[in-house]
């Protein structure tokens, strides 16, 4: 097996037993990037020199940490000190943060090897990386198709073997959807479990940093490194974080699984519905109790999300006005023009659309009609889940209504593009942990199954995911991008 096909735990053994140095491992990954990046387009910025330097430091003075010496990538909306952080926007094309995001610091602390910054939709607004100011990222399973998004670069890089794992952010499905499209494990933790400090905001009340890995165990390893209270994030929660790998056995006897009927209807491809139903049956055989439930308010999640996310984004992005950040239109001869021209030039169409809609729903005349109503719907969606969780431990649904789609497939059909988030958005609205795990292939493309848990019960999700993973080989499959196997 090639190094670039291995999981973190496999690589970690090689590193610990000195079978390979971090520098060798890093060079192997850099070579893999050289080979496939042109086809995939996962990176915005490569940090080859920094990576070799970090690997050298580790080899010189190795530490015994689970992620030490392991090459990884970060979605390019996660701030990295001294490394350009663009949010895939012209607006931040030359922004070099003077600080690390909390999660970036955590991985640096582990002496991981940062290989670069990964592509995304502009400011994480989109679900295909097509709104990136730089390029769309291709799906390693079918280069004619997209990796999904917004963490498309993060997913494609792992799937293509360009990094061993990556971090993304998830506002309405941005980790789980591309993970599903690329045949990977993707976890969006409970809101408040992982610090948002330094993760550039899209929708502050929904954003959460999370993990994309090749298997469940890796996911637990990375979550161990990034979870926990951060005094620099006022929405981070003070709780005792468990060791997510401890007692991770895949034993799910007696686990009460709910599947909400609303998530298995009309909008979702029948092939995906069948895959997930088959999985539910397998869970039953493994000793779980599986029951159908109803989440009636989930129907309102997408429209409410549409309002809340635009509202928050419109003010989160107001700071990019050409005064401190972004392109500055030097021709403007007054402040108002400076703002207008800089923003017109710096933002792409989707971002502008969201800012306009967000400003509209927050305006004095429409605040109650839209924003407040959406917030009330959000409460009902949350209460819906709470009710189901009174009698169940986890909820299982498909992750996405379809498998990976093609470039420009939704160009004239924005509504259907947005509908892509329909199964993942409710989880963010309720602040719950959600995870996508590979559950099979449809016409050669990976499909994902979504596991939803109670707040801060990530461990239960990981265990349930592991149980399914152990029963299948899906996670071992790798796309064929050429190169030795």
């Amino acid at each position: 097996m090639q190094l670039y096909d291995m999981t973190i735990s496999e690589l970690s053994v090689l590193i610990k037993e000195r079978k390979i140095s971090a520098q060798e491992l890093t060079r192997a990954y850099l070579q893999r990037i050289d080979e496939v990046e042109e086809q995939v387009g996962a990176f915005i910025t490569r940090t080859d020199e920094l990576a070799i330097q970090q690997a050298g430091e580790f080899d010189h003075n190795p530490v015994n940490k689970p992620l030490a010496g392991i090459p990884y990538g970060l979605k390019d909306n996660i701030c990295t000190r001294g490394v350009r952080t663009t949010c895939a926007s012209k607006m931040l094309g030359d922004f070099v943060p003077a600080y690390n995001a909390r999660v970036a610091a955590c991985l640096q602390d582990q002496q991981g090897i940062l290989l670069g910054k990964l592509n995304l939709d502009e400011f994480a607004m989109g679900c295909s990386t097509e709104t990136s100011a730089f390029k769309p990222t291709s799906n390693p399973w079918d280069l004619q198709r997209l990796a999904g998004g917004s963490s498309g670069g993060s997913a494609a890089a792992v799937a293509a073997g360009e990094v061993a794992y990556s971090l993304g952010t998830d506002t309405g499905g941005s980790i789980r959807q591309p993970a599903a499209y690329c045949g990977l494990v993707g976890l969006k933790p409970t809101y408040g479990l992982v610090s948002r400090f330094g993760a550039i905001a899209n929708t502050s009340s929904l954003d959460q940093v999370g993990v994309i890995t090749r298997d469940v165990w890796d996911c637990a390893l990375v979550l161990n490194a990034i979870a926990g209270y951060d005094p620099q994030d006022g929405t981070s929660v003070k709780i005792d974080v468990p060791d997510y790998t401890a007692d991770l056995s895949g034993d799910i006897k007696g686990l009460r699984i709910a599947y909400p009927r609303e998530y298995f209807q009309n909008n979702t491809d029948t092939a995906i519905v069948e895959q997930v139903k088959r999985a539910l049956h397998e869970y039953e055989q493994l000793g779980a109790i599986v029951e159908e439930v109803s989440l009636p308010y989930s129907e309102y999640a997408l429209p409410a999300y549409y309002i809340i996310s635009r509202a928050e984004a419109s003010t989160n992005l107001a700071r990019y006005d050409g005064v401190q950040f972004g392109l500055r239109d030097v021709k403007a001869d007054n402040v108002a023009d400076l703002y207008a021209d800089s923003r017109a030039a710096g933002f792409g169409a989707e971002v502008k659309l969201r800012i306009l809609l967000g400003s509209y729903v927050l305006s004095a005349d429409y605040y109650e009609t839209y924003y407040l109503k959406a917030m009330k719907a959000r409460r009902l969606i949350h209460d819906d889940f709470t009710r189901v969780f009174e009698n169940h431990d986890i909820i299982i649904t498909p992750t996405t209504p379809t498998t990976a789609f093609q470039r420009d497939e939704f160009r004239s059909d924005l509504l259907n593009l947005y509908r892509n988030d329909i199964l993942t958005v409710p989880v963010n609205m309720a602040g719950l942990p959600g995870m996508s795990v590979p559950c099979g292939f449809i016409d050669g493309l990976p499909a994902g199954m979504q596991l939803i848990g109670k707040p801060f019960k990530e461990k239960m999700l990981l265990n349930a995911a592991l149980a399914f993973e152990q029963a299948h080989d899906y996670y071992k499959a790798r796309p064929n991008l050429g190169g030795d196997r």
């Binding site: 600080y99 502050s204 005094p231």
Partner: protein, 482 residues
């Protein structure tokens, strides 16, 4: 002022809280530092940074609320006020719009002996903006510089009810508010440095009319005097307009200090929609009854309590007590002096008289002066001991005020000791009497003025240092022997 009209005023006061660090980051709040030296990625609004609430700011909010007789909200919340301006790096100000921390308070004021209660609608926490530095004036400047030192400092905005009925009442309210805030120890309240800022909402209406008139907001009020003058000007402008049959419209005007007029800034139609909504980066603020009790227990003496104490315990007239409790520094000076010299009225006279005069002349606050209470007490004791006269004492006091020297030293250096030695004075009297036989004749012939002449000559000879009582006695004796 036309008697048929009534002036209605409400004040919005911004107070900079003197916590050590800013409201949402740990930058220093020290005034007067080099531009942009008290800034971090957080208060500069850098991408990815997040606000974390400073607990001390909330405590100061509670303290102020209690001092202003407000209800303290069990839960309050921060919102975003969205607008673009170069001194606001995030392009929104974090402020409590929907759910302020304090509501429904009041402040008792006094104008010409008449007491009055002014309602306080609300007081809410927010962050301050930075400062623009223009090269020249705002309209002619080629470029402007941004200083973010002030950006992100904790502010409390205190909004009064429209209960104020004159410029004098407005001034009295602001002075009293300042006193309360100073005593509570939550702010420096320096209008010059901008730690106390005031906007006035002014309208007029025919006396007896219930509905309020059209409201005008006046900005740029940098002193108590500006507040008073601008309200007087604005009220008469509005009355004249109504009398001339003009229609008033809701607008914001700015006070032109030079010309002493208000000038139009923007009309209501230009008013921005701030698109307020709860800031998702900050959890609601919960204040427990225990916390309130804790803050309440640590509340220092407030002006009204201090004033009562000075009247009841020190026997001062209420007027004196009201002046001495305008600032905690004044009260502290008084209290310290009285501890060493238990003659409250004499101490009060010196503070309200000489000391306040010198502070005014030099445009200083008592805490900036080099004079300490103990030194003033020494001076008072020297008067009592007859070492110097009350008149000379004023000269010495002025010298103490400007140099910070001890009174004994000044008296010695300038040779100001009162001459009470009878032999010395007798000898001088002998000389003067001998040199003025004609005046002695006048005295004998019953001319009262002649006695005054001899006193004057003696004071001249001693440069005013002769003890007047002894001079009188000796002169009487000496002339009776003629």
């Amino acid at each position: 002022m036309n008697r048929e009209y009534e002036i209605v005023v409400g004040l919005e006061v911004h107070v900079e809280l003197k916590t050590k660090t800013k409201i949402f980051c740990s930058c220093s709040t020290e005034f007067g530092a080099e531009p942009n030296t008290q800034v971090c990625p957080g208060c500069a609004g850098f991408p990815g940074t997040l606000p974390v609430l400073n607990r001390k700011v909330v405590e100061y909010g509670i303290k102020t609320g209690l001092a202003l007789n407000c209800e303290i909200a069990e839960m309050s919340r921060f919102d975003r006020k969205n607008y673009f301006y170069p001194d606001l790096p995030k392009a929104y100000q974090i402020s409590q719009f929907y759910m302020p921390i304090c509501k429904n308070g009041y402040l008792d004021i006094e104008v010409d002996g008449a007491k009055k209660r002014i309602g306080i609608t609300r007081a809410h926490l927010e962050e301050d903006a930075g400062k623009l530095v223009h090269q020249g004036t705002i309209t002619s400047t080629e470029y402007s510089l941004v200083d973010l030192n002030r950006g992100g400092m904790g502010l409390l905005e205190i909004v009064s009810e429209p209960d104020i009925r004159s410029a004098q009442e407005a001034r009295a309210y602001l002075e009293k508010l300042r006193a309360v805030l100073l005593f509570a120890g939550v702010s420096d309240c320096k209008m010059q440095e901008g730690s106390l800022r005031c906007d006035a909402n002014v309208s007029v209406r025919p006396r007896g009319q219930k509905e309020l008139g059209t409201r005008v907001e006046i900005k740029n009020l940098n002193s108590f005097r500006a507040l008073e003058k601008s309200i007087e000007y604005e009220a008469s402008r509005q009355i004249n307009a109504i009398e001339d049959g003009e229609e008033l419209f809701q607008e914001t005007r700015t006070w032109d200090e030079e010309k002493q007029v208000t000038r139009a800034m923007r009309s209501k139609e230009d008013a921005e929609d701030y698109r307020y909504f709860p800031d998702p980066d900050l959890a609601p603020v919960y204040v427990s009854q225990e916390w309130i009790a804790e803050v309440s227990a640590s509340m220092p003496e407030l002006p009204d309590q201090a004033r009562q104490r000075l009247v009841n315990d020190c026997g001062l007239p209420d007027y004196d007590a009201s002046i001495l409790t305008l600032t905690p520094a004044t009260l502290k000076f008084f209290d310290e002096a009285v501890t060493e010299y238990n003659q409250p009225k004499i101490v009060s006279n010196w503070i309200m008289g000489e000391l306040n005069r010198l502070l005014n002349v030099n445009n200083m606050e008592i805490e900036d002066s080099r004079l300490v209470p103990g030194e003033m007490v020494k001076l008072l004791k020297l008067i009592d001991a007859g070492t110097i006269s009350g008149k000379i004492a004023k000269t010495v006091f002025e010298e103490m005020f400007s140099t910070g020297k001890e009174p004994e030293q000044i008296i010695k250096e300038k040779g100001l000791v009162q001459i009470s030695d009878e032999d010395t004075l007798k000898a001088m009297i002998d000389d003067i009497v001998a040199a003025n036989p004609k005046v002695v004749e006048d005295y004998k012939n019953g001319k009262e003025k002649a006695f005054g002449f001899f006193v004057g000559q003696l004071m001249k000879a001693t440069r005013g240092q002769a003890n007047p009582a002894i001079v009188n006695k000796l002169l009487q004796e000496r002339l009776s022997r003629e």
